[in-house]
Amino acid sequence: MSLPRFNDLQVGFELPPLVLPAVNRTTLALYAGASGDHNQVHIDLDFARKARQPDVFAHGMLSVAYLGRLLTAWVPQTSVRSLSVRFTGITQLGHIPTCSGRVIEKFEADGETRVRLAIRCGNQYGDEKLIGEAVVAIA
């Protein structure tokens, strides 16, 4: 991993995007098992329909995990200071999660040089699903 340098990074810099495979039922089964989130609305079509959803849909935290991958593919995890998101849309089966990040601020805090990133996860149609911010320490 070639580390980004604080002095070289400009506001507006875009992280390499992370494009995932399309979400299918296996994705959700694996995520339910590995995460321990067994909310039936992600697992059981009958339950999802009773909850007035057309089908099961992805766990929001699966997309947060993808945003975590966006960050740790760019810097070592030891540099990640915060990660926060709002869930703004539902990721349905067949959606291709697409994660992006952009430097929006350079600052110093707690004796470190840090950057604030606007982060986002959308789908292949450009619909926004998660939007948030992350802070990363960069030497």
């Binding site: 590995a34 989130d37 993808y66 740790t72 995890q77 990660l83 926060s84």
Partner: protein, 146 residues
């Protein structure tokens, strides 16, 4: 139905052992291919004592040992079929690794409504510490009932 009297309510203190196999399973589930997250030798070469807990996995460990259905239905008074995750945040003070035993101390920090009461939000915060008492992270979660 959740109201402001819930603010400050403890949702309990739980502990979870970070298991190597569970971390590998999680890496598979999220398509993580960086060997640091699955191969102990790669993790050690990166300077870690063992496989690291990835950024969002702390929340999965937080849910262990809790009856989340009871919290959502019995304490918040929500209907499981009508809730959605609204917001999620992590502030990191350190990292956690396979073999650690993490403690999760969770309380309700806010309850509010939007759209004239059509939406009710409950916000909870969790302090995460490890077996040495080191403060690892703070987790903030917001659920909404539609």
């Amino acid at each position: 139905m959740a109201d402001k009297s819930l603010i400050g309510c403890s949702l309990g203190v739980t502990t979870a052992l970070v298991e190597t196999g569970r971390l590998r399973f999680f890496a598979k589930a999220i398509g993580e291919t960086d060997p640091v997250y699955t191969d102990e030798a790669a993790a050690e070469a990166a300077g870690y004592p063992s496989l690291p807990v990835p950024p969002s996995f702390l929340m999965c460990l937080e849910a262990e040992g809790r009856d989340s259905d009871h919290i959502v239905e019995g304490i918040f008074g929500f209907d499981l079929g009508r809730i959605l995750h609204a917001e999620q945040g992590f502030t990191y003070h350190g990292m956690a690794f396979a073999g650690d035993v993490l403690t999760f101390d969770t309380r309700v920090v806010d309850v509010y409504e939007k759209k004239g009461g059509a939406l009710t939000f409950v916000v909870q915060e969790t302090r995460v510490s490890n077996q040495d008492g080191r403060h690892i992270a703070d987790i903030r979660s917001s659920l909404v009932q539609r």
